[in-house]
Subunit: 342 residues, 2 copies
Amino acid sequence: MARKATIRDVSLAAHVSVTTVSRYLNGSIRLPAETIQRIDDAVKALRYTPNPLARSLSRGKSETIGLVIPEIANPFFARLAASVEATAAERGYGVLLCVTLNNVDREIDYIRRIESKQVDGVLFSTNHPDDGRLLDALKDVPCFVLVDEDIAGADVPGVFAENRGGALEATRHIVEAGHRKIAMLSGPKKLLSAEERRLGFLDAIQEAGPGHDAVAIFDCAYTVEAGEAAAENLLRDHPETTAVFTGSDELFLGMLKVFRRHGVRIGDDISVVTCDDVEPLALFEPAITALRQDLPQMGRQALDLLISTIAGKPVPERHILVPMELMKRDSVRPPRRRARLR
Amino acid sequence: MARKATIRDVSLAAHVSVTTVSRYLNGSIRLPAETIQRIDDAVKALRYTPNPLARSLSRGKSETIGLVIPEIANPFFARLAASVEATAAERGYGVLLCVTLNNVDREIDYIRRIESKQVDGVLFSTNHPDDGRLLDALKDVPCFVLVDEDIAGADVPGVFAENRGGALEATRHIVEAGHRKIAMLSGPKKLLSAEERRLGFLDAIQEAGPGHDAVAIFDCAYTVEAGEAAAENLLRDHPETTAVFTGSDELFLGMLKVFRRHGVRIGDDISVVTCDDVEPLALFEPAITALRQDLPQMGRQALDLLISTIAGKPVPERHILVPMELMKRDSVRPPRRRARLR
DNA sequence: CTGAAAGCGCTTACAG
DNA sequence: CTGAAAGCGCTTACAG
């Protein structure tokens, strides 16, 4: 492959200065038609495309954002990433992907890349409670937007699901089907989504009034394994339970495995609503009712918020709450009389 | 935020030349302990980190690779991306993510970024038959590795699943359960995975000998909708079918919807094996037997192949075939006698 | 061994 | 309106 053409080559071939070529290509100049022609010809003949690295270095911005997420194989974050990437592409931004697996060093590494101008800003999603290091690394960092989960004490813009309201609605739906003994497999303590959903769950129980019990609330990591463990405990210690609200698809999937092992049938023996709805829950039998996160909206809004910050625009709402939608399917049914799970 | 420190600031503070700082930081020089101390102190005091943009421009490489995939919300590509990103991080490479939705312009855009040095190389996955434009854009492009699907006529290194052998094994498994009337929902014509799996499927039918029929082979896009359409046709036109091999999880999911609608029970009425195994198929009832792609291996091998190419190392095998694994579960059972789907 | 200087490929304030 | 020159922040061949 021949050496790649530079702006200098174009200027030589078109008999104009480098300055003129640069200005013309960036649209900051009006030129006689004839000059334009010469430049266009040269660009075409040399197959010239600007070097984005040089441009970034010179301009001080890279037209690239960093997308920092805990996982990508997880469909939740994969969908979030899809929305972010699509919006970024529309806006002319590239996306540097960083999968942290909740490793704080990697998280901090990417925050640093804002200062070093490698990225113009970072969209950040973290899945573990902060021990203070994140908060520390965030000092004076501009152009940083959180999505999905919060960092305690951080005064940064962010986009989150309307977790509490969503959980309230989901639990209400369970209550309205006639359930009185309801359990929750909740996410990890100190995580915004878990805390808020727990509150929404309790709101609904309280609203339902006397006779309605939050039988048990398990704090779990958002994993299939944690869902299994909690479900085993639930069956053993709380057989009076007739409905469960699970805080994520993973927790639901783990619980489902346990129910299968013990012959507990969803719908018939126990009602279920889960959060997320990123797995093909509509194709399970029965189809699973789920509180869906509007990932397309969250990704889009978060990216636009970030771009506004990068552009230095005043940001009216620093915290955007995106509504969740309850997808009513077939896993919530009236409880059987005197039902017991064992 | 104060202006970010540059190498110049460090050199001033440490009373050495910029050259020395650069060399020391890059490990290409041995220095007296005392000088080292001064530089380290300056770096720490100024919170200096090198500007990667400037470094890349100067060195002519960016330590970044482009990952070009058709989709990211699709769990198949999400898992591939997870493996690629993890390996890249280990090797010290950043990942610029490009989701093309099979848009050729976006594909070509990213190929161009190799020439412009924004990325050192590209890992490329495309999901549509090439009309020649891709092949054209690939001329003289170095540091390009294909993964999962091929581009017809392109003489570039690549990593693929052992599709034919896998399909042979999967279909053999169906035959061994006693099936004689077997259909296939295949992927799009001209796509490597589809062509190869079709061949493997036919290999097995032929091997099974007289009395064994490939009842029908449907060429489908790899989508749920295409799976639905094909399954409707299958039920209508080929009720003698007792087993189906589907070429992707999406096709399977589409077919499943149709089976549900028509009351056809997997396992009892019809046996099924699908490809990919990226959906939670083990949790379906019955658990679905699937030909699993080893995405972690594919991503890792592809990235290492790319890095070798970037480093200019001779690459012994330009085409790497990664074995598939048949996950035997519960969706293949002996056919019922005189079974008819309608 | 050390450092001044050129160069990577752009953009843009400044002068003509 | 146009262009020579400085600058973005590094690396490295070259000279001392």
